[in-house]
Symmetry: C2
Subunit: 146 residues, 2 copies
DNA sequence: TTAAATAGCTGTAGTCACTACAGATAGACG
DNA sequence: CGTCTATCTGTAGTGACTACAGCTATTTAA
């Protein structure tokens, strides 16, 4: 039986995060010691590994909930899992595209700025006037929403 | 003089967001009508354009605060602006790299999943076992923190 | 055995950049 | 004058944690 600290070290997941996952129902409530401390088994550890790895791959909590439900089924619906993973990959792809466009825009902006103490700062100018930009950059694709 | 709704349409920025920027001190308090409604001038519109465009380019609010302070100076410190923009571009670059690695990982995972009703679902397997992964994927670089 | 050090408990609030609402007032138009 | 839309303030919600306060449990050393 693992204490929450041992589980934390075993999964590289902070203690607070483990309790948070329990609160939102992503991790099941574990057994308790006589003094009311959490005691975890292997199943908990495996599940937390699954969750953490999914998060590292950028899946959202709600997607992970679905993945867990699918993986718990007797006869796994692999097609559904596959679809979820593909959707996520495509979303990541879109984000990469948006960020590349953004980087190019930033690059152009920086190149227009010579550096030094001048009244005509290219960067400031571009920031103040969208028309100096080559393309649109929708905020959503850039911000961390995935 | 523009009402908050007119400014909103002129800058493609929601009314609530304008009030939010005022509350956090990013936009100055405007004049008021007899009935206590906000009335904006050109300077406000220019400043909000600057803020929105900077946000679209992924700058954080605190960075925009700095950019605004720098752009307000009599003798602009263009080098400081340049450095800020470069730091931001480099951060975007790092994120692109992380997301590309992530997408490749997702691709490999999806390829290992044939689809259908099988006990050995490649995706679920990989998610449960980090060792089946090629590389590390630190959560921070992937999550939308910028 | 006991004291100290470490670990764990619950509950709440903070992060970021908004967004959404509720309940009130202002202004524009016919 | 009535109606409709716009605006007002203030608060709470979002996602996925993180941090803290004030307490209790457990472990280790003396």
């Amino acid at each position: 039986m693992l204490s929450i600290g041992e589980l934390s070290r075993a999964t590289d997941c902070k203690v607070e995060t483990i309790r948070y996952y329990e609160k939102i129902g992503l991790m099941p409530e574990p057994a308790r010691s006589a003094g009311n401390q959490r005691r975890y088994g292997e199943r908990h550890r495996d599940r937390l590994h699954f969750i953490r790895h999914s998060r590292q791959l950028g899946f959202r909590i709600e997607a992970i909930r679905e993945l867990l439900a699918l993986s718990d089924q007797e006869h796994r619906d692999c097609a559904a899992v596959d679809a979820l993973a593909r959707r996520h990959r495509d979303a990541v792809d879109d984000r990469i595209g948006a960020l590349c466009a953004l980087r190019d825009e930033l690059d152009r902006m920086i190149k227009g700025c010579a550096g030094g103490d001048v009244a005509h700062c290219g960067v400031i100018e571009v920031l103040g006037d969208h028309r100096l930009c080559r393309n649109d950059h929708p905020l959503e694709a850039v911000a961390g929403k995935q």
